[in-house]
């Protein structure tokens, strides 16, 4: 039914293709952002900056929603400890790849190459996933939820504690930095561009941009390029996860989601399969954490509060759990409309009018009664967009669960097989006695 190939016209047929849907959505999002920027008269530099930021968040939320989709959408594992695995990923990467400390008072790292650190981050997240999986995957979904969120908080407490703030391995001082966090002296984009020789492109872009946006063009261009790099990684995640989804392995995952006991009765070792899927998802979340924060300059433990986990959940639910295309689109919509959108609007308003916001809610409400003036209230709203947007996210989540529990694309039929199931294999006829199981199919009878 959801197959759009029978709908008429080229547009209809194009829309039936998932990449087209994603690209069309991105085009709309970017058009709206640019149009709003132009309407308010943003400078080009500001425009590129805001587009770069937007791209960054579309990328990271897409990556995380895809990883979560492997857990929840495919396998039905209710993981609300995502942020713990992200933290493990980036902290491990930091400890492994940071250069050794120059002075004794500094917290350094092991000085391994960047890619080794990234790999270590993924492995660490997967190993911790195993640690959670061994006892917890047998549990009911709501218990697994509570265990994973408690686990992610334990990770955060560990990162915050003085106990692991710093310690010595041989003659090196390494550590997790405690409450003040860690500095991340990485430039992953530059390393990547240099290795792939794409720095030629980068130089060209900077050269092109310099006359238009003035000095320091490389900062703007680099943040834009990092966003693009993230989108490429989204595409890689998408391909990998879709392959898994369309394999016999993915079929078992889907079956576990539907009915684990029935799957066992067909001879599938569901515990092993679930553990593998959980660990892989955790590794992808760990890498997601690395990609999210490695170029941010510093990390602190309190970045990794559970609300970040819930952002990713909202993104997945918007797109529709179970669909990779939906995950990417949900990540994009969440980033553009719920996460970055309100802040962008705040910027726009603040650049257009002088916002003189009252310092508290009383100051915002009192003028309405005193002098029927709503401006202070509106200013207070604009000033507190970052709080209100979370209220809005909560409302969106409630609305979705009431009205669109299967996401923006609605119900989708994504076959779990490595071959197309829509046609009969060639040369098959319904011969009268050609279709005996056991006798046919090329495998020996008993």
């Amino acid at each position: 039914m959801s197959d759009a190939t029978d709908s008429q016209g080229l547009a209809g047929r194009l829309w039936g293709r998932d990449p087209v849907k994603v690209l069309a959505l991105l085009a709309v999002i970017y058009a709206v952002y640019i149009a709003l920027g132009l309407a308010i008269g943003f400078e080009i530099r500001g425009q590129i900056n805001s587009i770069a930021t937007l791209t960054f968040y579309i990328g990271v939320f897409g990556i995380m929603a895809l990883a979560l989709n492997l857990h929840w959408g495919y396998t039905g594992l209710f993981n609300i400890g995502i942020v713990g695995f992200m933290a493990i990923g980036i902290y491990t990467m930091a400890v492994v790849s940071k250069p050794a400390a120059e002075t004794a008072s500094q917290v350094g790292g092991l000085g391994a190459p960047l890619w080794v650190g990234m790999l270590a981050g993924m492995v660490a997240a997967a190993v911790l996933g195993l640690l959670v999986a061994l006892p917890a995957l047998r549990l009911r979904a709501d218990y697994l939820a509570i265990v994973t969120i408690a686990f992610s908080e334990i990770v955060r407490f560990t990162l915050l504690s003085r106990t692991f703030q710093e310690f010595r391995i041989g003659d090196r001082t390494i550590g997790l930095g405690g409450g003040s966090g860690l500095l991340l002296p990485f430039n992953p984009l530059q390393s990547f561009l240099d290795v792939t020789r794409l720095n030629v492109l980068q130089d060209a872009l900077v050269g092109l941009a310099e006359p238009i946006i003035g000095g320091n063009a490389d900062a703007v261009i680099n943040s834009f390029l990092y966003g693009v790099l993230l989108l490429v990684i989204v595409a890689i995640y998408y391909v990998v996860l879709t392959r898994i989804g369309r394999s016999p392995f993915g079929r078992v995952l889907k079956a576990i989601r539907e009915d684990e006991d029935a799957t066992k009765a067909l001879g599938k070792d569901t515990n092993v399969v679930k553990t593998k899927a959980f660990m892989l998802g955790c590794a992808l979340m760990g890498l997601g954490g690395v990609l999210w924060y490695m170029q941010s300059g510093a990390i602190t433990p309190n970045t990794f509060r559970p609300r970040l986990t819930f952002f990713i959940w909202i993104a997945l639910i918007i797109g529709g759990a179970g669909s990779n295309t939906g995950s990417v689109m949900g990540g994009a919509v969440f980033a553009a409309a719920l996460f970055q959108g309100p802040r962008y609007l705040q910027n726009l308003v603040e650049s257009a009018v002088e916002v003189d916001a009252p310092s508290n809610f009383a100051g915002a409400v009192a003028p309405i009664f005193d002098s029927l003036s709503v401006n202070p209230f509106l200013f207070y709203v604009i000033d507190n967009v970052r709080q209100l947007q979370l209220v809005f996210m909560g409302l969106v989540l409630i609305w979705l669960m009431h009205n669109r529990p299967s996401g923006m694309l609605g119900h989708r039929k994504e076959a779990a097989a490595s071959v197309s199931l829509t046609r009969r294999p060639a040369g098959q006829t319904t011969a009268a006695d050609g279709g005996r199981p056991g006798a046919g199919g090329g495998d020996g009878d008993e």
């Binding site: 209710f78 709501d142 939820a145």
Partner: protein, 370 residues
């Protein structure tokens, strides 16, 4: 009852539940180690008393809030992640009223500052003399409003959020409750501001001299203990002796059964929220009164501990929630005697995770509500 029989029972216990046996052994070892630390003076009696008191107090709050969570978890069949923010809502609404009364309805400070519980440092509870001895009327009124306002809030949320999707899976409701939690928490932040403020004035206290110092028992320690104790006894009587209580127990055991036998389900659901919401609101208020500070994150920080208590005690069991609350509270407070203090909360979570894995039905599980 011979020796061999009790030995045999011990062996059976070990065979039927080896991990539980090991856990029990671990508890015994910790208790013995505590005794050793007290005898050798590693830990003074004063510190022990102080930590134990803090644990019991926190445990009472967690237990009181846990009753509400446990009731909704078993009767409505979902883990309510908004429960922590119900706690916060109770604390803010109650404190707003306490401030208003202690501040003489605007004579000591502007009405706005009082109702917003001194947002942004506009007025301080210490200056207003908020406390059970210094302003008993304000505290009593705050307590009542905290309960009533939270009941109103839970009913409102239920009517518009949970009721329309009552027939869906527990997971759908759980996710929806996360949405509710976001809305409540950040609306509170939007209205009341984000500062963590002191809300109480100095109250009289009783100092009990013990080896190594003194254990101080404050007014609000007593207040919390009395309020929580009375409410727990009340809920026990209600569930045991009234028709409503029996209906709620039936529903927590089997909702379909209750529906078939003609117990008015929606009515029971409503009373569940009334009881659970009321206790939770009061718990939030008493918690804040007892610790003396108030912030929009308080309830959320307590939520996982409340979950821990409810799971420990067995979902649906009132006594389980109370005992679970005490165990979790004491674990939280006592753990720093052995491990770095940053891991007190982590220790409580570990207890919960271990219980989930070893005995998911909880220590009071299987024995239905109350």
């Amino acid at each position: 009852m011979g020796v061999s029989e009790s030995y045999e029972r011990g062996r059976d216990l070990f065979q039927s539940n080896p991990i539980g046996f090991v856990l029990g052994l671990a508890v015994v070892i910790l208790v013995l180690d505590m005794v050793r630390k007290l005898v050798t003076g590693d830990v003074t009696v004063a510190r022990f008393g102080l930590v134990l008191k803090a644990g019991v107090m926190r445990g009472m709050v967690i237990g009181l809030a846990g009753i509400g969570l446990s009731l909704t978890y078993s009767i409505l069949n979902f883990a309510n992640f908004a429960h922590g923010d119900y706690l916060t809502s109770g604390a803010f609404s109650g404190m707003a009223v306490s401030y208003l009364i202690a501040g003489n309805f605007g004579r000591d400070a502007s009405i706005g500052a009082l109702l917003l519980v001194g947002t942004g440092g506009s007025v301080f509870g210490g200056a207003l003399g908020v406390g059970a001895v210094t302003a008993p009327v304000a505290v009593l009124a705050g307590l009542i409003v905290a309960g009533v306002a939270t009941i109103g809030l839970t009913l409102l949320v239920d009517r518009y959020v949970f009721k329309p999707i009552r027939d869906r899976s527990g997971i759908t409701l759980l996710i929806t409750s996360i949405g509710v939690a976001f809305v409540l928490r950040y609306l509170i932040l939007f209205v009341f501001g984000g500062s963590k403020r002191g809300v109480t004035a100095e109250q009289p206290s009783l100092s009990v001299g013990v080896p190594g110092g003194a254990v101080e028992i404050g007014t609000h320690d007593v207040a919390l203990f009395v309020v929580a104790g009375v409410l727990m006894a009340g809920i026990h009587l209600l569930l045991q002796n009234t028709k409503l209580g029996k209906a709620m127990r039936a529903m927590s055991d089997n909702e379909d059964l209750a529906r078939v036998t003609g117990i008015p389900t929606e009515r029971v659901v409503r009373y569940t929220w009334i009881i659970g919401g009321g206790l939770t609101g009061v718990a939030g208020y008493m918690f804040v009164l007892w610790k003396g500070t108030l912030g929009f994150f308080d309830g959320w920080l307590l939520l996982l501990l409340v979950f821990a208590a409810v799971i420990l005690g067995g979902i649906g069991s009132i006594y389980g929630a109370i005992v679970g609350g005490l165990v979790i509270g004491i674990t939280f407070s006592m753990a720093p005697i052995w491990i770095p203090s940053a891991f007190g909360r982590a220790a409580a979570f570990v207890v919960m995770i271990v219980i989930l894995i070893v005995k998911p039905e909880g220590i009071f599980g299987g024995t239905s509500t109350a």
